[in-house]
């Protein structure tokens, strides 16, 4: 049997991460168009989009760091705490000690690096579960923030305020205000930093030896070791990068809010993890990409924006929305992983979630529509050895269910309000 040799990737050769990223991109566009139609005023202005960027630049950086660490098979939940610590330290440094802007930036990098170093060492060389270490790191950072300074305060230093309020106009984009004057859309410096960071990481993950090592280690540590990759160093490096980015992210956050507070970046670790997962990063490691993560962050922010535009302004809705989003994406991912496990290792019984979701659909819309929706007919008719097709089938299921589960609740919101 001659196998056709092609360098072009077939659909089934795409990694799960790419598929998830594509889904996320589609969801983002659909949601945005949807929001433009429903809340015309706000969302038609370009500035609304750029405000999404402005408000989430720090989160993007944190999410990128999280992606790196998750691709390498770890997790870092200290990023929010480290960011808070960075904001507080920088605020105290500038305001109480008359420090310079550059000094503060260096301080931020130093704090991030220190956390990355220690956590990376403990995880990589002492082989301790990353979750426990970084959980401790989070509490440590939050506690330290209070120890550094108890009360939250705004930084008044003029130099700093000037830099922080620098706005970069976006050419050709903008809107006309009430008085008929054209106002350019603008972005903050933080966005530039975030985009540069993302570009650097994208390059790192895609084209460098180190970047590919992250994927290898996340895919299977043992194998990576046998392939001659220095696993410990790679894991260490992933935590180091994440720590460093937490420092940068914290500083960007500081520039955005201009204050030091223990409550800064609250729940940022959760948002970062959610962004990465929504963008297609595999929780178990070995898959993920930066573009997806950026899209994930934006989708998440957009969801929050829509929720608040819909009049559900109370604080708790944000938390619940993110949790629901994360929940849905995790389930979708688990369906995909289950499909892959089923395919790679027939001895496990991982197809459960997909079956469960299929049965659920079957109950609500009837067997024939469920088969169409979830692509099961294909599966049941397929000859027993066609594993590839099976995977596509599961992907189709995942996509369908995912789309439905995102868009359906949003519709419900508007029908009820």
């Amino acid at each position: 049997m001659k196998i056709k040799r092609i360098h072009k990737k077939r659909f089934c050769d795409l990694s799960d991460s790419t598929v998830l990223t594509m889904i996320t991109a589609a969801v983002f566009v659909i949601l945005y168009v949807f929001a433009m139609i429903v809340f015309q005023k706000g969302f038609l202005k370009p500035q609304t989009f750029f405000n999404l960027l402005n408000a989430n630049a720090a989160l993007m950086i944190l999410s990128c760091g999280m992606t790196v660490v998750m691709v390498a098979g770890g997790i870092d939940i200290s990023v929010g705490g480290v960011s808070a610590l960075v904001t507080m330290c920088c605020a105290v440094f500038i305001d109480h000690h008359g420090g310079s802007f550059t000094g503060a930036a260096l301080l931020a990098l130093g704090i991030g690096l220190a956390f990355g170093l220690v956590q990376g060492f403990l995880v990589a060389y002492l082989e301790i579960q990353p979750f426990i270490i970084t959980l401790a790191g989070m509490f440590f950072a939050r506690g330290m923030t209070t120890i550094v300074c108890e009360a939250p305060f705004n930084v008044q230093n003029e130099d700093f305020v000037r830099i922080r309020e620098t706005r970069i106009n976006v050419p050709f984009l903008g809107s006309v205000n009430k008085n008929g004057i054209f106002i350019n859309a603008y972005i903050e410096i933080g966005v530039i930093v975030a985009l540069l960071t993302a570009a650097a990481l994208f390059f790192l993950l895609k084209w460098t030896r180190t970047g590919r090592a992250f994927y290898a280690v996340g895919g299977n540590r043992q194998s990576a070791l046998m392939l001659g990759i220095n696993v410990k160093q790679t894991v260490f490096l992933s935590h180091l990068i994440c720590g460093l980015l937490a420092g940068i992210g914290g500083f960007v956050y500081f520039m955005h809010v201009g204050s030091g507070s223990a409550a800064n970046a609250a729940g940022a670790e959760m948002n970062a993890i959610a962004s990465a997962i929504i963008g297609g990063t595999n929780l178990m490691g070995g898959a993920g990409n930066i573009i997806g993560t950026l899209l994930g962050t934006l989708t998440l922010a957009l969801m929050q924006n829509i929720v608040s535009s819909a009049g559900l302004d109370q604080a708790w809705w944000t938390g619940i929305t993110i949790a629901v989003m994360l929940c849905i994406f995790l389930i979708v991912q688990s369906v995909l992983i289950a499909a892959v496990i089923l395919h790679r290792n027939p001895l496990t019984y991982g197809s459960m979630p997909a079956e469960f979701l299929y049965n659920l659909t079957k109950k609500s819309v009837g067997a024939s529509s469920a088969q169409v929706l979830c692509g099961v007919a294909l599966h049941e008719k397929s000859p027993p050895d066609r594993v590839h097709r099976q995977i596509i089938v599961y992907r189709i299921r995942g996509q369908t269910l995912f789309m439905g589960s995102i868009i359906y609740p949003v519709f419900c919101f508007f029908l009820s309000s």
């Binding site: 997790i75 403990l122 060389y125 002492l126 082989e127 301790i128 579960q129 979750f131 426990i132 270490i133 959980l135 401790a136 790191g137 989070m138 509490f139 440590f140 939050r142 506690g143 330290m144 209070t146 120890i147 108890e150 223990a262 729940g267 959760m270 993890i273 929780l283 178990m284 109370q314 604080a315 708790w316 809705w317 944000t318 938390g319 619940i320 993110i322 949790a323 629901v324 994360l326 929940c327 995790l330 389930i331 688990s334 369906v335 992983i337 289950a338 001895l347 496990t348 019984y349 991982g350 459960m352 979630p353 469960f356």
Partner: protein, 363 residues
């Protein structure tokens, strides 16, 4: 030669086996530290509370009192850790949800009068139900969708307190009922705080559960090898959901105590960081955080040791917000010391230290 070998092995197994010794050693260290710093720490007096009843007071009593919720949570956390190889980090948030539900039922529509509108037992049962539902949700994510426990519980960890606020429409109901207050305070005529007794009841319940059912064997089998368990007729998914439901129940009981202490609820602060303490208790008890074998008594002792540490820190005027930094440092030290890599190195060091001795004796 044989005897020497054995004594050497016992000496070494002090560090690798004998789980109970780890929390005991930590307790001892704390006791000695406090004895040196301030022997007054251990004084227990018989005073009168605001109602005029004779009650015991002192740091030791407050440790037994305030450690109750933690010890109860440690029970659930131990089981979750053993069966799933991960930890439930939503404990604090679930307590908030349970507490909020409890108050919602207790107060009904009348939030401010302080009169209770429904029997406490009904409210408590609802609270337990809510806790078990939360547990079942976590458990289902872990068991059926195979999401890592810590990430699965991250969902409730973030959303929990928001949900709790939502249940009561972000209002703060007050309860001024003396019967209800006694769950977190004192029963008339009993000098020991009630939470201590509630904890004792929970210990008895879990002891009975381990003694009269096969829970221990099932949980450990599932935690060590899921596939083998399944082939032996166990359903790992049910066991996992089961332990998370027990965890939810523990949260509900803890919520009862917490809410009764405060007589109201503060959604963002109630039981804050308690999951951290519970995980610490399990780790301090010498149970592997990656699941498998566990020892309940060790975890419970661990919980009280943590409370001892907290009380000691408070005594040294450490701010409650800053407390987490110290505890985090303690966790890191503990986890580092118990990591296999460090342990192996320590063993090697010990062996090289003890080897010259035996060599000397042989001569």
């Amino acid at each position: 030669m044989m005897a020497q070998d054995r004594s050497k092995r016992n000496f070494l197994s002090f560090f690798s086996g004998k789980q109970f010794l780890i929390p005991l050693a930590a307790l001892l260290a704390l006791v000695i530290f406090n004895l040196i710093a301030d022997p007054e720490f251990f004084r227990v007096t018989l005073g009168r509370n605001s109602a005029g009843d004779p009650v015991l007071a002192g740091n030791l009593i407050s440790i037994l009192d305030n450690g109750s919720e933690l010890a109860i949570l440690a029970i659930g956390m131990t089981l979750v850790t053993a069966a799933s190889g991960g930890q439930d980090i939503s404990a604090g948030a679930v307590i908030a949800i349970c507490g909020s539900a409890l108050l919602r039922v207790l107060c009904g529509s009348d939030l401010t009068s302080g009169q209770i509108q429904s029997p406490i037992i009904v409210a408590f049962l609802v609270c337990c139900l809510v806790g078990m539902l939360c547990g079942a949700f976590n458990g289902a994510l872990v068991a059926f969708f195979r999401i890592q426990p810590m990430v699965a519980t991250l969902i409730l960890f973030t959303a929990g307190r928001s949900i709790a606020a939502w249940i009561n429409n972000n209002e703060l109901p007050m309860v001024a009922d003396s019967t209800f207050a006694s769950f977190g305070g004192y029963i008339k005529g009993v000098p020991m705080p009630t939470p201590f007794f509630i904890a004792l009841i929970c210990f008895a319940a879990v002891w009975a559960l381990l003694r009269f059912t096969s829970l221990g064997l099932y949980v450990q089998s599932v935690g060590i090898s899921e596939k083998t368990s399944r082939l032996n007729g166990l359903d790992p998914r049910i066991v996992k959901v089961g332990v998370f439901v027990i965890m939810g129940l523990c949260c509900a009981v803890a919520a009862l105590i917490k809410v009764s202490r405060l007589k109201t609820i503060n959604y963002s602060i109630i039981a804050k960081d308690i999951e951290m303490d519970a995980i610490l208790a399990v780790a301090l008890g010498g149970n592997p955080l990656s699941g498998g074998k566990f020892r309940m008594s060790s975890s419970i002792l661990g919980a009280y040791v943590i409370q001892f540490l907290t009380t000691t820190l408070y005594k040294f005027d450490v701010q409650s917000d800053a407390l987490s930094a110290y505890k985090a440092a303690a966790v890191i030290i503990l986890v580092v010391l118990s990591s296999p890599v460090v342990r192996e190195k320590l063993m090697k060091l010990l062996r090289s230290l003890s080897e010259p001795e035996t060599a000397g004796k042989q001569v």
